[in-house]
């Protein structure tokens, strides 16, 4: 038993003294602990089965975020609800929630510079398939306090846990690891991978609110909001919702023109330049 687990048990004991749900809760803890009396465990399982499972739901205030010319990043609030909340578990703060806004996935390339004839140039690269372009995660508290590292990794909860797929090549595992670490670090530096521990807060027993800050350079496209509900460190529910981030209004018109009518777009840009250049000359002459 690790010291932290003992502390947790003590805290539980203090909080639970005499409560009707004592059996159920402490037992849940016991099943996790290596030692436990067989009878007690059986009772626990029975209680566990009798309990109606929680469900988590989230609602985004909007299905699509439109980026217009004044966009400099935006706070995004996601509201959610838990059905069948066990009031006691809630009171003890043993419900935990993760909310993730994950950007579209694409191939990314990490390159490493080295000195060649005195000049620093890119010499090695590693591409990654199907990697999220952005990843914003909010949680009720620090991820490692919520559940085990194995679970975090399995559900890819946290920047260090985002599943990346290095494109197979002849590189050694340690090298690939260095490139993977660089990928996470560069994304974090660019504000595209962010963690918001404490970003999820309960408003009431069953309602919660998650807040993440979309950076100004948020990738455009189909994002996905995912939410996970943990009870005593065990995953009990998950859900997801789509979120589209796209240019809107004038920005959309311009980029749509640039993409679909690129020849006319180029010609118009040149005409604009000719006009401004001529205009500048006229204004200059009047002076």
């Amino acid at each position: 038993m690790s010291p932290r687990r003992i502390l947790l048990l003590l805290a539980l004991g203090a909080g639970l003294a005499g409560g009707p749900a004592l059996a159920q809760v402490s037992v849940t803890q016991d099943t996790a602990a290596p030692a436990g009396e067989p009878g007690e465990a059986a009772a626990a399982n029975a209680a566990e089965q009798a309990r109606v499972p929680e469900r988590i739901e989230i609602g985004l205030s909007t299905q699509a975020i439109g980026i217009t010319s004044d966009f400099t990043g935006q706070a995004l609030t996601i509201f959610g609800a838990i059905d069948n909340v066990d009031p006691l578990v809630h009171r003890q703060g043993r419900y935990d929630i993760f909310v993730i806004i994950e950007g579209p996935r694409s191939e990314l390339v990490t390159r490493r510079k080295a000195r060649v004839f005195g000049i620093w140039m890119n010499v090695e690269s590693q591409s990654f398939d199907n990697t999220p372009q952005s990843y914003l995660i909010a949680s009720t508290r620090l991820a490692r306090d919520i559940t085990s590292l194995d679970t975090l990794a399995r559900l890819s909860l946290g920047i260090g846990q985002i599943r990346v797929q290095p494109h197979p090549d002849r590189k050694q595992a340690r090298e690939v690891e260095a490139f993977t670490a660089a990928l996470r670090r560069l994304k974090q530096d660019a504000g595209l991978y962010q963690e918001f521990p404490g970003g999820v807060q309960f408003i009431s027993q069953s309602l919660f609110r998650a807040e993440v800050a979309l950076p100004a350079n948020v990738p455009l496209g189909q994002h996905r909001a995912r939410a996970y509900l943990f009870r005593n460190g065990e995953l009990v529910g998950q859900t997801q919702a789509p979120l589209r981030i796209a240019k809107a209004g004038f920005e959309f018109a311009v980029s749509d023109f640039a993409r679909n009518q690129s020849l006319y777009y180029g010609l118009s840009s040149v005409l604009l330049a000719l006009f401004i250049g001529w205009l500048g000359r006229i204004v200059f002459k009047k002076d």
Binding site: A216, V254, A258, L263, V270, R281
Partner: protein, 307 residues
């Protein structure tokens, strides 16, 4: 004041970009250069993706060259025939340049090649210009007559076949060096996001022996078309021309150019050339620094495949 750029897909400060355009416009008005060699590195320092900076730079150069050429036109300082032959070469070079540009970006060496090209060309041109102008300044002080053009001199360039007469420039030269020069500069322009005036002007003076009073006008005339062509080709192949970014730079640039031209009139030619040479060398040194000094971050990240 923030503005979200539709193609660069990032939020920028309007005032910073207007100021950047104005500062470069001031210098280009003062020295009679397009200023592309300043604007593109500045945009990259400001975190605009290099692809967008290069393509948008070409668009901005169109505006500043039009302004410039109109003022030279009035003084008869444009040789349309010479400009057209340079342009024919320029269009071929520019097409090749845009293609090389996409290729380099694909293998991840674009930034390196662009930096090396900047260091080599700005360093060479700046160094030669500084050397020449300091010599001219010394001679001017000792009272000698300064002339860049020595008509009696002939170099190998003048022995090539396919000669053509350019009346305005009072020249009778082979079209081969003119086409090659145009193509070379067109290619550099597309890769570096510059008009190429800073190479074109000295090359015309020293290699083709074009008289100084038509050099800048003719160079600007052909740069308009090469830059316009580059803008369209970049828009079609790479879709990296950001018209909003270009507009901000153009407005700042055109305004700045007025004041620059006035400031330039108060200075003598050699002084202007020496100052321009120092500016060019400083940009080259700044870029050389990033090539030779250990970078803070060895890794870089880019999107795979397209975009």
């Amino acid at each position: 004041m923030a503005l979200y750029l539709p193609i660069a897909e990032m939020s920028v400060n309007i005032l910073v970009l207007l100021g950047m355009g104005a500062a470069v416009g001031f210098l280009s008005g003062m020295f009679g250069v397009g200023g592309g060699f300043l604007i593109t590195p500045l945009l990259i320092f400001y975190n605009i993706p290099p692809a967008v900076a290069v393509a948008t730079g070409a668009n901005q150069i169109v505006a500043s060259s039009v302004s410039g050429v109109l003022s030279h036109l009035k003084r008869g300082g444009v040789d349309f025939k010479l400009g057209s032959v340079l342009l024919a070469g320029g269009l071929i070079g520019s097409t090749a340049g845009v293609y090389i540009y996409s290729l380099l970006r694909g293998i991840g060496q674009l930034d390196l090649i662009v930096s090396i090209l900047y260091v080599v060309f700005l360093g060479t041109v700046g160094g030669l210009m500084l050397f020449e102008s300091v010599k001219a300044l010394r001679r001017a002080r000792s009272g000698e007559v300064v002339s860049l053009r020595r008509p009696g001199q002939h170099i190998w360039v003048h022995k090539l076949p396919f000669k053509m007469r350019f009346k305005t420039s009072r020249l009778y030269v082979s079209v081969i060096p003119v086409l090659v020069l145009g193509a070379l500069i067109g290619m550099l322009a597309a890769i570096m996001g510059v008009g190429g005036g800073f190479i074109m002007v000295p090359a015309m003076i020293y290699l083709l022996k074009v008289p100084t009073n038509v050099v800048i006008g003719t160079s600007l005339f052909q740069i308009i078309f090469v830059a316009a062509y580059t803008t369209v080709v970049q828009a079609v192949t790479n879709q990296t021309v950001d018209v909003m970014l270009a507009l901000l730079l153009m407005i700042g640039g055109v305004a700045g150019a007025q004041y620059g031209a006035r400031a330039g009139q108060r200075l003598r030619g050699e002084q202007l050339r020496a100052m321009l040479a120092i500016l060019v060398l400083l940009v080259a040194l700044r870029l050389a620094y990033t090539l030779f000094v250990v970078p803070d971050e060895l890794f870089s990240l880019s999107a795979g495949g397209g975009l």
